[in-house]
Symmetry: C2
Subunit: 214 residues, 2 copies
DNA sequence: TAGATTGTTAATCGATTAACAATC
DNA sequence: TAGATTGTTAATCGATTAACAATC
């Protein structure tokens, strides 16, 4: 089976396609051409067709794309047709924010546990999930089939905790700590570096100010 | 003055360089070669030199780069030598999480206000900043010089609020809402789409499972 | 001075866009 | 059938890597 590697750039655009198609679906739009979609999304029609054809021919000449069908197919590509059990390590504001995102649940990401070191959080529940103490993590992972762990803890603890998670068989880490994680290559890591994002914003402000002589 | 446009890819890597240099600095490392840094960061030395030379020659032949100097210079490029006044719209978990990030304050991002529609939050303070009601937003912006607004509100309100912010003279929006914002091009928008990130993670899990026949 | 390492040019690689034949 | 629009190949553009002369 010939498996061409799909570029990171393409994968990075899929969620955005998915989002726009979801909106079209909600708006009751039945079909859309790459050209019309390209205008909405401010990308080229060529790129849309090229991107989609990495995964197969979802359209029809002379017709365009069926919104519902394409939405579902991209969902499948993104793995949203599966169920994903998830835990959150770090029940601070950010961990709680993630725990409260009802939309994740709708996409098949099921929160099964919340962990923290702070004893004052013990027993507190978020959306019915009690916060457990970190001491219970290993045992919990032994008895529950968890795929994804979100790491919403400070950088100082992140690497150590990541190692525990990997040793306990976690497949994927959604990392919010302000550090890179160097883990075995069969562990999937997706990092959200909020401060990197804020710095990019700040760069663009500086650039803008320079150009406008401020 | 010849201003070459610097590619988004390069800018996206700057915060990561900054992060690694900060760690080297903390570790007391005085100088580093592009080669040594490339090994630490898993990128090519060529890319590091190429990236940095977009902004000027920060190194010295035969010596490498002075860590402290390079750290400071990248900080300047990123605009971290300026002060940035900031507000947060949406004082839910995510807004509070951002408000509590002490490290932003250290980098010159000063939180000046927090806004929400929920009357139960009125008067509640986070790090000494009281939550204000949305009705007060326009007046507040008239009397305070705010550069950045973080939008941590649901998608349904985001576009409307963004328009108010722009009309009130906000320069930059750090958008966490699950939607793209179409604003005048002189307004800088940096979006953090958490669900896009989770979908990328999910994609990679599916891909991995396929490859390993699960 | 000799060795090390940058800054920068040239070569390669990959991603995006354009074009158009295939086909609904 | 004629018109529309895809899927796909070819052309272009940009980003990354390699190479090396400049120089500390």
């Amino acid at each position: 089976m010939e498996e061409r590697e799909i570029s990171r750039a393409v994968i990075g655009r899929l969620p955005r396609y998915y989002r726009y198609l979801g909106e079209l679906l909600d708006a009751g739009v039945e079909r859309i051409s790459s050209n019309d979609l390209s205008k909405k999304m401010s990308v080229t029609a060529s790129q849309i067709r090229q991107d989609l054809n990495n995964f197969g021919g979802f359209g029809q000449q002379g017709y365009g794309y069926n919104v519902k069908y394409l939405y579902t197919e991209i969902g499948k590509i993104l793995g949203l047709n599966r169920e994903h059990n998830m835990i959150i390590i770090g029940a601070g504001n950010l961990g709680q924010a993630l725990a409260n995102y009802a939309s994740f649940e709708k996409s098949g990401f099921h929160l099964k546990g919340l962990f923290d070191v702070n004893p004052r959080l013990e027993g507190v529940s978020i959306r019915g999930i009690p916060v457990r103490m970190m001491d219970d993590l290993k045992t919990f992972l032994k008895h529950n089939d968890i795929e994804i762990a979100a790491l919403t803890i400070p950088k100082s603890k992140a690497i150590e905790v990541a190692d525990i998670l990997v040793a306990s068989g976690i497949k994927a880490i959604w990392n919010f700590a302000h550090t890179d994680l160097n883990l075995p290559e069969d562990v999937i890591v997706e990092s959200v570096h909020l401060s990197d994002s804020l710095m990019k914003l700040s760069y663009n402000i500086s650039r803008y100010n320079e150009e406008h002589g401020k």
